[in-house]
């Protein structure tokens, strides 16, 4: 990344969009809550922008972004210590290493996920779409499938489980199950 690009918002936005998946996944794994992860992602992006303009050279944008995100997650944990349940330090440390490793092949993982989604039957795809693309809550999905909320959890969790297995298999990583 040459110095001529350092103060160019367009270039920064493109970089951020390219690597957003990795950074967001890293944050979500650490805080385990989508709403908190959204807020932290936003704060992270802002801090990245401020630092980016001051930085001389950033060789690995994603790795740098995750370092900034790590800092923001720590800040969040400190702020929310009294009000939110948090993973203890031992588990948190384990997750940092694991999340960064899982992120390394995020693009391949994303491609695998698309393939796995296309293998789902129509109704399952529709539910995934409701949950993620349309952002429906479990409550509204429960209403749509005419079942209690806890059943909707079960359905969505099973679909995700199915996708995790499929992605895992597609990537031909170590057999988990």
């Amino acid at each position: 990344m040459g110095p001529e690009n350092l103060k160019n918002p367009d270039f920064f936005v493109r970089q951020l969009m390219n690597h957003r998946k990795r950074i967001y996944a890293f944050i979500l794994t650490l805080v385990a809550n989508t709403s908190d992860a959204d807020d932290i992602m936003q704060d992270t992006a802002l801090l990245m922008w401020k630092k980016y303009r001051q930085a001389e050279e950033i060789k690995d944008f994603a790795a740098w972004g995750m370092r900034v995100a790590h800092f923001k997650v720590l800040e969040f944990r400190k702020k929310q210590y009294e009000t939110k349940l948090q993973f203890n330090s031992e588990l948190f440390d384990s997750l940092i290493g694991g999340a960064a490793a899982a992120n390394e092949n995020v693009d391949a993982r994303f491609e695998a996920l698309k393939k796995c989604l296309s293998k789902l039957d129509e109704k399952s795809r529709y539910l995934v779409q409701m949950r993620h693309q349309k952002g429906e809550t479990i409550k509204s999905i429960a209403a749509a499938i005419k079942m209690p909320q806890h059943t909707a959890y079960k359905v969505i969790a099973r679909l995700h489980e199915q996708l995790v297995r499929c992605v895992h298999k597609t990537l031909k990583v170590e057999e988990l199950f």
Partner: protein, 548 residues
């Protein structure tokens, strides 16, 4: 083993959505600490979740677009017959190891994006605005309140939309069949919708408009507030703007204050700043952007169901108020107020004398009172006892009433034949009369709007049967203090008034007196009174309003 992952999946799912209770959370943590496979599974699961949340990543795999109720029924049936998974209790010891805390869901009242954007440079602001439109939208969050509605008919009669209803972000489409509705977003952006309109609350700072009209007033705390239409995105940069989506698919953007960023075209190909006083039309068919005239009164900007007011940016018409209206055209032409009694009247009254008592007008909330000035004793000009110290001495005679009439300017200037296309509202006031309007009461008519100026034209009406005898003085007071006077106005003369008003001004008084004429005058072979032919008129007397 399979059951372990099913349980894990449900726990992770619950945790991601913020729905786990404390013991379930402890269980999830315990499983990951004690079992490396569970830890790896959790990481894979959350990574998958993050990827699935990526906006727009799945357009190419053929998601269904329509809700299929048969499909959902089949799903429900499957789930009814599926075996349950129990979540086991957690040992007390493991719970005691951790601090006893409680999950509290906190939703931001004000968009964090908007607040931070205030502290940033303009380049950073641009970045944040662009970035914010790539970020996936959060759903199901209460984000706006219906603060008022007028004659509103909503399509969803099963769940009535009433004042105070909270609106959540999501896919729900709200259909306002007719009438008006005002929404206040938690970030303080205020939006007025004019039916028929169909809209969605896409995010905490974003409205989607399928068709209809919306007007947005966006304070600094909510910079970045956006309106999405089928073929354009309008992003606020600190402003007031109106957007109309026509049934045919065209989008119109009218910027009345500040500036906006317009992103138009099917793939956001064109970005441009549109500033105050400008308007654009984006073709629904081609996406082509064209200049159009900015129409300030095209959108309903403020509504007030209590006073039955719909404000499109127009001025407040004092003649309409004299006619018993609310200043926006609901008054009656020909209606009048008798200055000798303070009562409404629709009958002509002849010449008569009266004391200079201040008479309250109970029938019209925006008129404080009326009087017949004579200057012989202290002249009270408001219900709060404001005095007009410089009031000239008069005969105390008057004629007719204070009347809501229509006229035209040509008539006043040229004194040519009265024409039937008279369209301007006017207050007809013969000497000696005064009327005091209650500005404070008018401010309550449409909250969020300031009264900025009083403007009017004035002169003598042609009704004067002896035009050469006309001679009157015109006065304008604010809280008893003289702000304007024009003496010895005669027929054929035409003048204007423009007075700035402040938010502390309470009463506006208009007064016409007899112009120093002697009590008895001789004109040719006639004996005339001092008030003869002094048919004063305030043409287009308005209060100029502006949003706060």
């Amino acid at each position: 083993m399979k059951n372990k992952y099913s349980l894990l999946s449900q726990l992770i799912e619950g945790q991601l959505s913020g729905e786990l209770n404390e013991s379930q959370f402890r269980l999830l943590q315990q499983m990951m600490l004690n079992d490396p496979e569970s830890l790896v599974y959790y990481i894979e699961y959350t990574t998958l979740w993050a990827l699935l949340d990526e906006a727009g990543g799945f357009q190419d795999i053929g998601f269904a677009t329509e809700f299929d109720s048969a499909m959902m029924d089949a799903f429900a049936e499957e789930e009814r017959t599926a075996p349950p998974i129990e979540i086991p209790a957690v040992s007390k010891k493991s719970q005691e190891d951790e601090k006893p805390t409680e999950i509290k869901k906190v939703h931001p009242k004000v968009s964090k994006f908007s607040i931070v954007s205030l502290a940033m440079s303009s380049a950073a602001l641009l970045f944040v605005i662009v970035y914010a439109h790539f970020v996936s939208m959060r759903r199901g969050i209460e984000t706006a309140t219906l603060t008022d509605s007028m004659n509103a008919k909503w399509a969803d009669i099963a769940s009535p939309v009433e004042k105070g209803t909270r609106l959540v972000t999501g896919e729900k489409r709200w259909l306002l069949r007719e009438g008006y509705a005002e929404l206040l977003f938690d970030n303080q952006a205020r939006v007025v919708l004019e039916g028929p309109a169909e809209f969605q609350i896409l995010a905490e700072d974003r409205v989607g408009l399928s068709y209809g009209k919306v007007y947005a007033r966006v304070p600094q705390t909510a910079v970045g507030f956006s309106v999405y239409t089928p073929n354009a995105k309008i992003i606020d940069l600190g402003t007031e703007f109106g957007v109309q989506v026509e049934i045919g698919g065209n989008t119109q953007l009218h910027v009345l204050k500040g500036k906006t960023m317009l992103m138009a075209g099917k793939t956001d190909r064109v970005n441009m700043e549109i500033s105050q006083g400008n308007a654009r039309k984006i073709s629904g068919k081609t996406g082509e952007i064209s200049d159009i005239c900015c129409r300030p009164n095209h959108f309903v900007r403020v509504i007030n169901s209590e006073s039955n007011c719909v404000w499109r940016g127009q001025n407040l018409d004092l003649a309409d108020i004299v006619g018993g209206g609310n200043g926006f055209g609901s008054g009656t032409i020909g209606m009048s107020i008798d200055p000798t009694s303070g009562k409404p009247s629709s009958k002509p009254e002849g010449r008569r004398g009266a004391s200079n008592d201040y008479r309250l007008v109970a029938s019209i909330p925006y008129v404080d009172g009326v009087f017949v000035p004579n200057g012989r004793s202290q002249q009270i000009v408001s219900s709060q006892g404001h005095l007009f110290q410089e009031c000239p001495e008069t005969t105390g005679l008057t004629c007719e009433n204070i009347i809501n009439v229509t006229t035209n300017v040509d008539f006043l200037v040229t004194q040519t034949q009265y024409v039937s296309d008279a369209s301007l509202r006017a207050i007809s006031m013969h000497a000696n009369m005064g009327i005091t309007f209650d500005l404070q009461a008018m401010r309550g008519l449409i909250k969020g709007v300031d009264i900025q100026r009083f403007q009017s034209q004035f002169g003598i009406r042609r009704y004067a049967v002896r035009p050469s005898a006309s001679n009157a003085d015109f006065w304008v007071l604010v809280d008893g203090k003289l702000k304007f006077k024009k003496e010895h106005v005669k027929i054929g003369q035409f003048h204007s008034i423009d007075i700035e008003l402040s938010e502390n001004d309470r009463f506006l008084t208009l007064m016409i007196t007899e112009g120093d004429d002697p009590e008895t005058r001789f004109l040719e072979d006639m004996v005339l009174t001092a008030i003869d032919s002094d048919w004063g008129i305030f043409i287009d007397p308005v209060l100029v309003l502006s949003p706060k």
